[in-house]
């Protein structure tokens, strides 16, 4: 089976979708001729023409707003916001328009769009190229929110997102584009070509939205993670020798609550991890759901490991990033509690 980087897998998902369905249109800043700053759309304009893949003005609200109009017309736009940190000018279009169009028009108009954006830190991007704004979208009724953690999932989830009848926010952990990253920034990164989840089948396949995956079986504690933190959590388990079960949520909204509840009821302990800032983060929702659904099975308080509640710093990146040492400490404390 061919191995691909996450960028190649994402590009392949758009290529497959554009080949199968003429309604799929791809655009964004630097997306056309150049193929995007991360090269996710490289070659698509040459293959499908300028009407199907093109450069957009630097206007995120314009990109998403026009995509909503295209979707209302009957196309299936898959647009790129260059960094998740740049999505805020489009927030009104996403929250007030895309998310509510089906509801407010009682299905008269719908909004099958995908908004792709690189998310998360680990690349010395400072406060404007490192944020993880997923909670700003999981709080919005009408959206679906995806954070893939590997090339195989990224392709299958992106094709499913493009085919979904509702608006999907597709957050791509940019630190994972070239290989799994476990938080050990001082060690060489394993490329996807050497990782089994870098195996990406050719052609069309989907991974259903709303289904988590168990990345590491374990019996002592459940770790709920997504994106880059899946690998950080796995490293923390290995390094502490704790028999943790690591769940890769993959879709945050709608959430696979069944998989979470089954695991926590089995282990009796839970640690929630994410890169995003702690306060009002998606972890708060996860902790709350675990408490509501697993309270009588819990043997310890549910712990959270997250980014500190500061803007994402530049020089202090590795003091900020919740690496394997911090996650490991939380695992130990949860077991000792």
């Amino acid at each position: 089976m061919p191995r691909r980087t996450m960028i190649e897998a994402i590009r392949d998902a758009m290529d497959v979708s554009m080949g199968r369905d003429e309604r799929v249109i791809v655009y964004g800043e630097d997306v056309g001729f150049f193929g995007g700053v991360f090269r996710a759309t490289q070659g698509l304009q040459a293959k499908y023409g300028k009407s199907r893949c093109f450069d957009a003005p630097i206007s995120e609200s314009g990109i998403v707003g026009s995509a909503i109009g295209m979707a209302a017309y009957g196309l299936r736009p898959c647009v790129e916001v260059q960094f998740a940190d740049y999505v805020y000018p489009a927030y009104d279009q996403i929250v007030s328009e895309a998310a509510r169009l089906r509801y407010r028009s009682n299905g008269d108009f719908t909004c099958p769009i995908v908004v792709r954006m690189p998310t998360g830190g680990g690349i010395f991007g400072g406060q404007t190229h490192s944020q993880s704004p997923e909670a700003l979208f999981t709080h919005v009724s009408g959206l679906k929110v995806i954070v893939p953690s590997n090339p195989h999932d990224a392709k299958g989830l992106l094709i499913a997102a493009i085919e979904d009848p509702d608006p999907v926010i597709f957050l791509e952990p940019k630190r994972l584009y070239n290989g799994p990253f476990d938080g050990h920034h001082d060690k060489p990164v394993t490329p996807w070509s050497k990782h089994e989840l870098g195996e990406v089948p050719d052609g069309h396949y989907t991974i259903p939205l709303g289904k988590a995956a168990i990345r590491r079986q374990g019996s002592a504690v459940t770790v709920l993670a997504y994106g880059t933190m899946v690998y950080v959590a796995q490293a923390a388990a290995e390094e502490t020798g704790i028999d943790a079960e690591v769940i890769d949520l993959r879709t945050l909204l709608p959430l696979d609550l069944d998989t979470i509840v089954a695991s926590v009821k089995k282990t009796g302990r839970c640690v929630v991890v994410h890169e995003a800032t702690l306060t009002s983060g998606f972890g708060a929702e996860l902790v709350s759901l675990v408490q509501e659904n697993c309270f009588y099975h819990l043997e310890a308080p549910v712990a959270r490991v997250a980014g500190w509640d500061t803007p994402y710093p530049h020089a202090q990146e590795w003091d900020y990033f919740p690496g394997p040492a911090r996650v490991g400490r939380a695992l130990v404390e949860t077991l000792e509690a």
Partner: protein
């Protein structure tokens, strides 16, 4: 000479406030028929002055004059008059229904009826409007059932939107009327996107974007102009300048540009101003812009110069911020009276027939209202179910919403 002293902060003010004498002497009104009608493939650079003039067809004597006249038959004009009168009567009844507590909120069109009623007749089936809350004439003039509009206003059991939207936020794909958000300006760039999609699909349908003078200050307006200009989108970009954004006079959004139409010039978009109270002029300019769009000539920006004679909404009191008699002093008159006088002048209409038509229309609107109220009003009679509240958030209801619906006991 430049003033090198202390910096001073500038806040524009309208000419007159409550208690003052209305004064529109600063509004230059060109003579009807005086503005030329260029070919649709005109080089936009040669018609920049049109962004600072006003295209008018009906003169003070009620005659249709000049190069923009002569597009509509007597029958079509009589029909147009009926649409405007219907909208006005509809508004009056719904305004009253709100005061009677039958709904929470209403927004009327008083003084602006020509804009949406005449524009609709310049479009073809399949074209799509992205309206604001003050273009219900697009529906009335397209034969959308008044009962359905009222069902929506009352949020009753027959409301096509299942009680989910504020009154007047209609939606009808079938009638080329995009779902109204209630947010401002968001629909402007969406209209451009719809038009881009039509061009990408090698279709022949065009889009029309709508916005008010105040909301042109939103960034989505400017994004829309960039996208429309860059991709030559087949879209008519409408700005309804009714002088007032709730209590804020148009000078606050307009700044130093002179006119709202002039906003289009920097984008190379042909930009026209038209007498928004002149049914014939609105229709002629809309048709010109629609033909340009359909001929792959790209977007046109049209500013409709009109006046919001009524309150912004049922929650507004204009006497607090503008002279009461200001609307009587508005130099472009009333759109219904002007078209009525034109038709009388042509010998195809009379005061008697007008009075009779008013009575007939009132009867029709009351009949529709009775039928709608049979399905309930906001606080009485049939209403959408609590179950409806949970439907339609997604194509397929996700597990968390299903659980919440169960918790709600429905």
């Amino acid at each position: 000479m430049a003033d090198a002293g202390m910096l001073r902060f500038h806040v524009p003010e309208p000419e007159v406030r409550p208690g003052g004498t209305p004064d529109f002497s600063n509004v230059t009104i060109p003579k009807a028929g005086s503005v030329p009608r260029p070919e649709i493939d005109v080089d936009p650079r040669t018609i920049r002055d049109m962004a600072f003039s006003i295209i008018r067809v009906l003169n003070r004597a009620g005659e249709a004059v000049g190069p923009w006249a002569g597009l509509l038959s007597d029958q079509e004009l009589l029909e147009g008059l009926r649409h405007m009168m219907t909208l006005r009567t509809f508004d009056a009844r719904m305004q009253m229904a709100q005061r009677q507590g039958k709904t929470s909120f209403y927004m009327q069109h008083l003084g602006e009826e020509a804009v949406s009623c005449a524009f609709r007749k310049a479009l073809q089936p399949g074209d799509m409007n992205f309206p604001t809350y003050r273009q219900a004439g697009l529906l009335i003039a397209d034969g959308y059932p008044m009962v359905t509009m009222m069902n929506q206003i009352y949020s009753n059991e027959a409301d096509p939107l299942k009680g989910r939207q504020l009154p007047v936020m209609y939606s009808s794909k079938e009638h080329g009327f995009f779902s109204i958000s209630g947010n401002l300006a968001t629909q402007y760039i969406q209209a451009v996107g719809w038009a881009m999609a039509s061009a990408i699909s090698n279709d022949s349908r065009i889009a029309a974007a709508w916005i008010g003078d105040g909301s042109t200050a939103e960034s989505d307006f400017h994004a829309a102009l960039v996208f429309a200009s860059t991709y030559k989108a087949p879209v008519v970009l409408n700005v309804v300048n009714n002088q007032w954004a709730i209590s804020t006079f148009q000078g606050i959004a307009r700044g130093g540009s002179g006119t709202f139409a002039a906003r289009g010039l920097g984008f190379g978009i042909p930009s026209l101003r038209v007498d928004g109270n002149d049914y014939l002029a609105v229709h002629a300019v809309a048709k010109w812009a629609a033909e340009r769009a359909r001929a792959n000539l790209g977007p046109t920006l049209v500013e409709y110069v009109t006046y919001r004679a009524g309150a912004h909404s049922t929650s507004d009191d204009p006497s607090a911020y503008r002279p009461k008699a200001e609307s009587d002093a508005w130099p472009l008159g009333d759109p219904v009276i002007r078209l009525k006088n034109h038709l009388i002048q042509k010998g195809v209409w009379s005061e008697d027939r007008h009075t009779q038509a008013e009575a007939e229309i009132l009867e029709t609107v009351i009949a529709a209202q009775k039928e709608a109220e049979g399905h309930g009003t906001l606080h009485a009679g049939g209403k959408p179910s609590t179950r409806d509240m949970f439907e339609g958030v997604y194509a397929e209801m996700p597990p968390h919403l299903r659980r919440q619906r169960q918790q709600a006991g429905v």
